[in-house]
């Protein structure tokens, strides 16, 4: 069965982009992932190619037999085209490492893209649930359901002292990583973002860019996640994020927005509307500049300066103007220059260009 978005990625976008949910003006999405490995089988670094293939076949079969979601699609990454692998990374369904690896591997994705299970990434299984806004309780409950369903059929390796064993000891214990994607344009503008990150460090958190470890924080998006996975209960890790960590960042950002509105309203409006005007009239635009301008438009929509564009549209544009998405939507490979023109045309169309 072909996964629907590989045909037309604009037709289907993940639930997490819908722009609803608590604190969605700042907390764009909530993600929880679990790392799991099968008992009796070495970690992937010690598996031969044959063993990896055997493992992939087995896990693919077991996942298909599990009642995880109404409809689950499996994508064999090792035989996928490069553009499709990039598309999956842009949609946050697989990691960059998973896209670029060379051994037998895959990903199972639920039709609404809330659940994704990477097979043969760093661990045998990496289960992820991704939702819009700050919905950590729902996200955590969903991932436990998926984990329980898999556990009915598979023996995961578990140690009485260290809990769920993982290939890298930084994930051992719960194997759980929470990460919330935050949009922090005002903190960036006021230069207070460093202060916010120092606070994050004091809380033993990791801050990463849009696409995970080692990536740039494009479009003023930052992912905040827990660094430790051992010695705390799953519920406690989640609750700390839900009640303390995320609200704190949301509060910093909202205060910075209020401050800008009070003291530099005209300058702020100028930045926001200039960005929207540019996106509505550009004829050629690169993906970095698009992210930069869309970030300001997102801010404009969140603080209700821009009223004729909704959050969902802006969220979707962040995704659909990425290189692999553009190429898939227009059904052809393009060099960067042609892509810039196609991106500009698509932006004008979606944002309702004032003149053609």
């Amino acid at each position: 069965m072909t996964y629907p978005f590989l045909g037309d990625p604009a037709q289907y976008v993940g639930e997490w982009l819908c722009g609803t949910g608590p604190m969605v003006d700042v907390a764009v999405s909530s993600r929880v992932r679990l790392a799991r490995n099968l008992a009796g089988i070495p970690f992937l670094s010690r598996c031969s190619v044959g063993q990896k293939r055997e493992l992939e076949t087995r896990l693919r079969r077991e996942i298909a037999a599990c009642p995880i979601a109404e409809k689950v699609f499996y994508i064999d990454i090792s035989t996928s085209a490069e553009v499709d692998r990039r598309l999956l990374v842009e949609r946050h369904l697989i990691s960059r490492e998973h896209a670029e690896a060379e051994h037998p591997r895959g990903v199972a994705v639920s039709a609404d893209e809330t659940v994704a299970i990477m097979v043969n990434e760093e661990d045998h299984l990496r289960i992820q649930v991704l939702r819009s806004g700050l919905q950590l309780i729902e996200t955590a409950q969903r991932i436990q359901q998926v984990d329980d369903a898999l556990e009915d059929r598979l023996d995961f390796v578990f140690h009485s002292r260290y809990g769920y064993l993982t290939a890298c000891p930084t994930n051992v214990g719960t194997g759980l990583r929470v990460s919330v994607m935050l949009h922090l344009p005002a903190l960036k503008m006021t230069g207070e973002i460093e202060k916010a990150f120092r606070a994050a460090r004091d809380l033993q958190l990791a801050v990463r860019g849009l696409y995970g470890e080692g990536t740039e924080a494009t479009g003023d998006f930052f992912q905040v996640s827990n660094q430790t996975t051992l010695g705390k209960k799953e519920e406690d890790i989640i609750e700390e994020f839900r009640q303390q960590i995320v609200p704190r960042f949301v509060d910093y950002e909202r205060r910075a927005r209020d401050g800008l509105l009070k003291r530099q309203n005209t300058a702020l409006e100028d930045k926001i509307f200039r960005s929207l005007a540019l996106l509505r009239s550009t004829r050629m635009i690169g993906s970095d500049e698009t992210m930069y301008l869309l970030s300001l438009v997102r801010l404009g929509v969140s603080i209700e300066k821009i009223k004729d564009v909704d959050l969902r549209t802006v969220n979707e544009l962040f995704l659909l103007t990425q290189p692999a998405h553009l190429q898939r939507m227009l059904k052809r490979e393009m060099d960067p220059q042609t892509r810039s023109a196609a991106r500009a045309e698509y932006l004008r169309r979606r944002l309702g260009a004032s003149s053609s």
């Binding site: 010690r46 556990e151 578990f158």
Partner: protein, 162 residues
């Protein structure tokens, strides 16, 4: 790259240039001091960074100690290089060498208190035996001893289905 940290004298990979009244002022910091001075963020200390620091600090003591996992054959020094373990048994095989490291990476915790698989995780001895057989199978294939490989494959199948 030979600069030393202005604060503590350790190697300094972070350099800051300030222009004050037309004068260029150069400052050098190590990763830790850069964070404490507020010139860099402590994004995420990767395990390899912790390992690196760990090796630098306690190198002499741990250098002599290079345990090998008798199940998958991985050495602790290999793990130190690639930050990834070879098999679940490594956690016990490297226990002594790894514990301080785990403590650092996990904010002092060394005991899991979270979820436990809802059904018993199966027979530990059987899993270890399977790990051993799979490691032997891999070696037999590398050595092109296909007769032995076929025999091991049958043994794995039999044990896996019990």
């Amino acid at each position: 790259m030979d600069n030393k940290c202005d604060k503590c004298g350790k190697p300094a990979p972070i350099h800051v240039f300030d222009i004050i009244q037309g004068q260029k002022i150069e400052k050098h910091y190590c990763n830790q001091c850069a964070v404490s001075e507020g010139v860099a963020f402590h994004y995420h200390m990767t395990l390899s960074q912790i390992l690196e620091e760990f090796v630098l600090q306690g190198g002499e003591q741990t250098g002599a100690l290079d345990p090998v996992c008798d199940v998958c054959g991985m050495r602790f020094s290999e793990f130190r290089q690639q930050s990834l373990l070879g098999c679940p048994h490594d956690y016990d095989a490297f226990a002594e060498a790894m514990l301080p490291l785990l403590e650092r990476a996990q904010g002092g915790a060394t005991q899991h208190v979270g979820k436990v698989p809802h059904r018993a995780g199966g027979d530990q001895k059987k899993h270890t035996a399977l790990l051993r057989l799979r490691a032997e199978l891999k070696n037999a294939i590398v050595a092109e001893d296909y007769e032995k490989a076929a025999m091991l494959r049958d043994q794995i199948k039999e044990l896996d289905n019990t």
